[in-house]
Symmetry: C2
Subunit: 767 residues, 2 copies
């Protein structure tokens, strides 16, 4: 028997297959455009040999980290591959496809991440070099943004190609195979996000604590042994991690739409979600190519303009596509159930409006995030002004900004979900509308990735310029300006990423319900006999307990991530102090510090630290599902999505606001650099570092990993809970193993202790 | 027709009525014991005339604030009274009773709050005086703890008396009348919590920013114009606010048990939830009288011992009562439905285990909170040690401690709910078991209130001692020690309060569902015709949107509370600076500052600031319920409970950890007072102030207010949504009005601006 959202009998017509092939070709074209942009970036000048040396150290450090990370994760991926293979499936083809495309999803995620890192470690020096030339501002910005464009093109190209391939090969079985694809992408992205996030902020915080705070030397001073690690961190965290994360957002949203599509729109439902992002490829190309700052114009204005132009083009083209491709009544859809065929409403109109909701949502989040984290708006200005009354008020006002912006962002996202949901009276169609809103958001992802990668590349360029001392005057000024723009684009990307997470998770939520109902039918339990907890879930206390646990896991995950950063930063503080102490020549500038050792420590610590949050994400839904049942697991997902959304935005935006409040003071407000006000904002910025770059953005893949794990295990939970295969023993054994592993992981990471806290008192005063 | 959880036909036998009367007498006895303790406290010596002058200023300020607050809230209470009267009811008697007992609940909450404030402003000076005498430590501790005992006795006495009275008069209709009683108690407590919380922390933060940070004068220095306001704040926030809050926890938990009791246990179900807290009265008396520190023993050890002893006595007596009073099978219960009568299981055993779960939960939370916020355990020690690397690491480690302890506390509370839920296969009985676990927790409330009031009384005593300069040497040492003990007992109380909130809210959740089903029957919609959104709620996206909004409201409420504190603190900084500037004699100690003006500003600002969070709490469920429907409102409650639990514990415990980390440093660790490490922990403590004393504890009544509003409006929502009275116009009009009022309130409070941020730069440097 088939799941409601599957349609094994579904056949694509020749024309439809042709259309899928066209989408695949568009995806490959995106890769080709990416390659063209890549050549252009690499063709730019690389600056002085000193700059190239520094860039080389960063390249080597970043590559070494990612290679080691992939080796570590490889083991994990193999284990999950085997477990996934063991889970119930319709037939062997689906079983193999699901596991195979899990590997493909993970592989694509890794490739995008690696590419993001590889290219940005090469683009940074070129941006720095360009800033020195005449017309440097436009040139530097062009290289930085096109670097992002490469990553954006590969993100959408690989995501769309993978999805189109699965649809082409598996047709009716595609949804379940896509679950594997999405899961692979999300799982790897989560690990890269967490690991990279820990690396980058441990290096950053550690470097700042010893350099800026203890020794009073500037950021990126070459005497600080942690500077190379700091730059490596920008690339493995902000570039590799974020690229993988956005790829995963892209893939999972697409997967969710395709899962829901056939049930709602029949064969057309499997195709329309591919057409929308294919249009997105086109508009992304336009967006990347039209981005250039007019004379005297702020970089952010130029980037925003491209975004809005490409969003409007997307909206128009998607609307046209909807009305061309979809019929005006549900009865006109081939391959849908009788119930759906009788649904009133116009599928073309519903699809068009849903996609537009998603695009508008992206625009609103862009605006909201810009408002709350941009230096020219009231919130950051207020945080900046509170620096006059000290660090405590800076922290409090930043937290208020974070809370407030999280509320508005969550309400806007919730409004979009609700708006899409209202488009139809049928729950199945409503869910698909939510997924289509996600696809609408996706059309902007190409430009979003470009915007995001822009940030760390500019940051790195500034670092290289400062360390080499070879870029000064106007060139340095240009890089500082680009760096500030990058802070805001990074915050915007995080807002968009969490919005896709909520839309995709909501859609997956529907698919979770479907998986349960199908499993119940499979084990021969008539729906009339379904236990109360399976149908009437919100109101029973055990489901509420699920909601509480879901919210708790988000807090736990955030706490673990923040803790990992402070712990790893402590180890770096230790090492840099040791180098200063044992080799006084470093401070005089006569001896080069051992940059490599700090990179090594960061690498080792991040990989060790990512295990606990990673295991928590995968095992917590298993523990709840097998231990408490499918009702509480549904509650768990709802709790995790809701709390996760708010927490992610809170962490990202309070961090962004602190960072830019510091920039405000550094620009000469409230006493400028070196004042007490500046010291207060530096404290705010340091607190914000693990908020905005480690814990916050990792919540986005976390939500999707937990949702996909739940969808995948749902049939197994039902199988062990009711019917012939019922076995409380196995069910609880699985739950207990999951709990034991989580507890063991937490205990191990606790026993590592807080390295900072273990720093003996004398070490602080010696140098 | 009657609701499932009501039983109008229910009659109490003569014996049962007698039992209710006995409970009422026990409640009155508690009040009598409270009065005896009150006489004892007031009989103690009042110290020097200088000390009495200061105490008098605090008494007057606190009384002036509360009087003004009650006048303001009076208007609000009248409006709600009228609205409540307009809501659907079974008959006119229930309608009148519900509104009338709403006033009684609000009145009792106000009385308890006022009493807490009145007595603690008189006890503080007596504790300070006692510390000077020989054997001062025991005497001071005895007075402080017995002051708490008075408030504890009045809390349990009035709560139990009110509930017994309603049961005695209304019998079968008691549950709905009790909804009014609980709502009145919760609403007033929430306002007192928020208003008092803003007052106390605005004064505290403002005083610290100008005094400790800018002028470098000690805390509680009489030259600081904000010191009296700071002391007033301790009394109106920590004493009046917390006392009202705990009374409300007591009343609402009792209400939830009584609502669920008749459905599960028939007439016995209306009586047993009264017997358990009556036993609690007895054990509270024991707990208060046996508390005395042995020579050389830490005060906390003595208090914990009393707690555990009284908890064990409660557990034993409640078990005995369960087996004496309840039959061993459901068939033996009079007045239950046939379905319940056929339920397998032993009601006596279920009741006993449920009550014990609640008592054990209280013990575990006591231990957990003590572990995470006590100076002698690892977490606070680690936070203290991170002060060596500066304020940023102090903030980060405190946040980690907060996140972590929130997770464990939430899991423990969730575990207790789940454990109680598993006690029976029948959902109705399970819900009652959850409520009974809440009653078990209640048996400890007497001692808990005593523990809590102990904190601010000791804090104030220390303040008076320092300001008067009349207590020194060993006396001062004793008061410092008591103050530190008070920090931990305050954190423990908050943990217990949030646990009662979750248990009560879970039970009320069940009653919400019942209210909907009954309303559906009333409007003649067969359950078969009930729209999907009414029964199958967790899985549809609109319910998920409800969960997101519920979580968002908790963030919004927290943000508003924190913001209100920083805003009001800014106004105080301004005023104190003005006094220093315009009157140089203040700094020389030749002129007394105008303490009254600062108290006035605090009073005015807190009352203005409490409107927005208060309106949000009442109107948000109305907006969601009428705007989106009962399914999303259920999701909303689940989201608010889950996120609220975690947020409340996070805010309370990170604040507690920072406060005690500062104490650790002040005790001579890591450089001691005046060191950089000390400055770092002072920043942590200031950030923690509004966390732990304003936003965090207010979430507890918030959750219950929102749940009770939902239960009360559920029939009206259903009435406007389906059946003969259906009117989308009215429904949406109500929702729109609610949204408009919330938005207007937020806009108004935003336009007030952040006073701190508006401080002109020159004002910081002048003095």
């Amino acid at each position: 028997m088939s799941r409601q959202f599957l349609a094994e009998g579904l056949e694509l017509s020749g024309g439809d297959r042709g259309l899928v092939a066209v989408v695949a070709v568009v995806a490959l074209a995106a890769l080709a455009v990416g390659y063209v942009l890549l050549r252009e970036v690499l063709a730019a000048g690389q600056g002085t040999s000193k700059m190239q040396d520094i860039a080389k150290a960063v390249q080597e450090g970043a590559a070494a980290y990612l290679n080691r990370q992939f080796r570590t994760l490889g083991i994990f991926v193999v284990i999950v591959f085997v477990l996934l293979f063991a889970l119930p499936a319709e037939d062997i083809g689906e079983r193999i496809g699901r596991s195979l495309f899990f590997l493909v999803g993970a592989g694509f995620s890794a490739v995008i991440g690696y590419l993001g890192m590889w290219l940005s470690t090469r683009a940074n020096v070129r941006v720095a070099a360009a800033a020195k030339e005449s017309g440097g501002r436009e040139k530097a910005m062009r290289i930085a943004f096109r670097t992002g464009g490469v990553v954006g093109m590969f993100t959408v190209g690989l995501g769309l190609f993978g999805a189109a391939l699965v649809v082409f090969v598996y047709v009716g079985q595609a949804p379940r195979v896509l679950e594997g694809f999405g899961f692979g992408a999300a799982l790897l992205a989560m690990f890269m996000r967490v690991g990279g996030g820990i690396f980058t902020k441990a290096a950053d915080v550690g470097a700042d604590l010893v350099g800026k705070v203890e020794q009073g030397i500037p950021e990126d001073d070459p005497r600080n042994a942690a500077t190379i690690a700091d730059n490596v961190g920008d690339n493995v965290g902000d570039c590799a991690g974020m690229a993988a994360d956005l790829f995963e957002s892209y893939a999972v949203t697409l997967v969710a739409s395709l899962i829901l599509g056939t049930a709602a729109f029949g064969a057309k439902g499997l195709l329309f979600p591919l057409i929308v992002p294919a249009i997105g490829v086109l508009t992304a190309v336009i967006g990347v190519y039209i981005t250039s700052a007019r004379t005297g114009e702020n970089g952010l204005t130029a980037i925003n303009r491209s975004f809005y132009i490409s969003a409007v083009i997307s909206a128009v083209l998607c609307t046209v596509a909807a009305f061309l491709f979809l019929p005006s009544s549900f009865a006109g859809l081939a391959g849908v159930s009788e119930e759906i065929a009788g649904t009133p409403g116009n599928p073309a109109l519903i699809a068009a409006v849903a996609v537009i909701i998603g695009i508008v949502l992206a625009g609103v989040i862009l605006w909201l995030t810009g408002y709350f984290t941009g230096t020219e708006h009231k919130p950051v200005k207020e945080v900046g002004r509170t620096s006059l009354t000290g660090a405590a008020t800076v922290i409090l006002s930043g937290i208020s900004v974070g809370f407030e912006s999280a509320v508005y962002t969550a309400l806007v996202i919730g409004g979009a979900v609700y708006g899409a949901f209202l488009l139809s009276g049928s729950v199945v169609v409503s869910l698909f509308a939510v997924a289509l809103a996600g696809c609408g958001l996706l059309t902007t992802v190409g430009v979003i990735v470009a915007m995001d990668t822009f940030g760390p590349v500019s940051d790195n360029a500034q670092g290289i310029a400062e360390m080499s001392g070879d870029v000064d005057g106007e060139g340095a000024q240009i890089l500082t300006e680009l760096d500030a723009v990058g802070n805001t684009t990074k915050a915007i990307t995080k807002g968009i990423a969490i919005a896709t997470a909520v839309l995709a998770a909501t859609a997956l939520f529907g698919s979770y319900k479907d998986a349960i109902e199908q499993a119940l039918r499979d084990v021969q339990v008539g729906l009339g006999e379904v236990p109360v907890s399976f149908t009437n879930v919100v109101f029973s206390p055990n489901v509420l307990v699920g909601v509480i646990i879901g919210a708790a896991v988000v807090f736990m995950f955030s706490g673990l991530a923040v803790n990992a950063v402070t712990r790893a930063a402590g180890a770096i503080v230790f090492e840099v102090r040791r180098q200063f102490r044992e080799n006084p020549g470093i401070m005089d500038g006569t001896v080069k510090p051992e940059y490599g050792r700090v990179v090594d420590i960061c690498t080792k610590d991040s990989l060790r630290e990512l295990a606990t949050p990673g295991l928590l994400a995968v095992l917590a839904p298993i523990a709840v599902g097998f231990g408490l049942g499918v009702g509480p697991l549904a509650g768990y997902l709802a709790g995790a999505i809701a709390t996760g959304t708010l927490m992610a935005v809170f962490l990202a935006n309070s961090g962004g606001a602190w960072d830019n409040a510091k920039k405000l003071v550094e620009d000469g407000n409230h006493g400028g650099k070196g004042s007490d006000a500046h010291a207060a904002t530096v404290i705010g910025d340091t607190v914000g570092d693990p908020f905005k770059d480690t814990a916050g953005p990792a919540i986005n893949p976390l939500i999707k990993v937990m949702n996909l794990v739940s969808v995948l295990i749902a049939p197994a939970i039902v199988g062990f809970s009711v019917g012939a295969g019922e076995s409380a023993g196995i069910r609880y054994a699985i739950a207990i193993v999951a709990v034991v592993v989580i507890v063991a992981a937490v205990v191990v990471s606790k026993r590592r202790g807080t390295a900072i806290a273990d720093t003996p008192a004398e070490a602080t005063t010696s140098a």
